[in-house]
C-alpha cells in the first residue's frame, strides 16, 4: 500500500505502471485493477476557472489516507493499493488524485476504490481555492456527495 503527496504535476499512468512493476510478488495474483483519476476542470458552478491552489495539513493528510486505506483492506481482499494526491498550484487538465486498487476479482476492485475515493473526499484534509477568469478567488465550501 502506498500513499504519495506531490507538490508538482504527476502522470497517473506512469504512477500506476511504476507501482505495479515494483510491487513484489503481485504478478499472476491480481485479476482486476480499478483506477480512478480526478482531473481539474476549467469550469465550476457556472464560472470559468483559470487555476487552483490546493492546501493541505501535512502529516494529518497522510495519517487520514493511511487510515482510509487500512479500513478498505479490512473490508475487501485488496492485494495492493496506491493513492496519489496533488497539492499546490494546479492548472486545468492537471490530474489531482489517483486511486488504484489491485484485487483478484473485479467487484472488490470497484468497491474498494470507490470507498477510498469517497472517504478521501470527506476526511482527507485538503482545501481547494479557485482562481476565476475574472481574477477573483474563492474557496470551495464543501464536496458534493459522490453517491447522489
Amino acid at each position: 500500500m502506498e500513499i504519495k503527496i506531490y507538490d508538482e504535476p504527476f502522470d497517473p499512468w506512469k504512477e500506476v505502471q511504476g507501482h505495479q512493476c515494483s510491487a513484489q510478488g503481485m504478478a499472476g495474483k491480481f485479476g482486476a485493477t480499478n483506477i480512478f483519476i480526478g482531473t481539474m476542470r476549467d469550469f465550476n458552478e457556472g464560472e470559468d476557472i483559470k487555476g487552483m491552489t490546493l492546501e493541505h495539513y501535512p502529516g494529518m493528510t497522510e495519517k487520514q489516507l493511511e487510515r482510509i486505506v487500512a479500513e478498505a483492506v479490512r473490508q475487501w481482499p485488496i492485494i495492493d493499493a496506491l493513492v496519489v494526491h496533488r497539492v499546490g498550484d494546479i492548472l486545468p487538465n492537471d490530474p489531482i488524485v489517483l486511486v488504484a486498487v489491485w484485487t483478484s476479482h473485479r467487484g472488490d476492485a470497484f468497491d474498494a476504490s470507490r470507498f477510498i475515493m469517497e472517504a478521501l473526499k470527506t476526511r482527507a484534509p485538503f482545501w481547494k481555492k479557485e482562481l476565476l477568469k475574472s481574477q477573483a478567488e474563492r474557496w470551495l465550501v464543501k464536496n458534493t456527495d459522490g453517491y447522489i
Binding site: 495539513y57 487520514q64 494526491h85 470527506t122 485538503f126 481555492k129 465550501v141 464543501k142
Partner: protein, 77 residues
C-alpha cells in the same frame, strides 16, 4: 500546559494567522482553546477540529503538548 493551535484554508485567512501557542491550566476542551485564541470571533458552525491530526468533537479534553487544529469542511479529491 502548552497547546499549539493551527488554522487552515479559509479559516486561516479569516483570522489572519496560521498558528498560536497558548498556555492553559486546568480542564480545557477544544472549544475552550478556540475561545481563548479567538475571543472576538465565534467558531464558524461548519468548522472541523482535530487533535494530534485525528478528528475530535469540540468538547474533547486536551492535554499538555497537544496540537489542536481548526479548519473548514475538506474539499480535496
Amino acid at each position: 500546559m502548552s497547546i499549539k493551535v493551527r488554522y487552515f484554508a479559509s479559516l486561516k485567512e479569516s483570522i489572519g494567522r496560521s498558528e498560536d501557542n497558548l498556555e492553559f491550566s486546568g480542564l480545557t476542551t477544544v472549544v475552550d482553546v478556540w475561545r481563548s485564541a479567538n475571543p472576538n470571533k465565534a467558531l464558524p458552525d461548519n468548522s472541523l477540529a482535530a487533535v494530534n491530526m485525528d478528528y475530535v468533537e469540540l468538547n474533547s479534553v486536551v492535554k499538555d503538548g497537544d496540537e489542536v487544529a481548526f479548519f473548514p469542511p475538506v474539499t480535496g479529491g
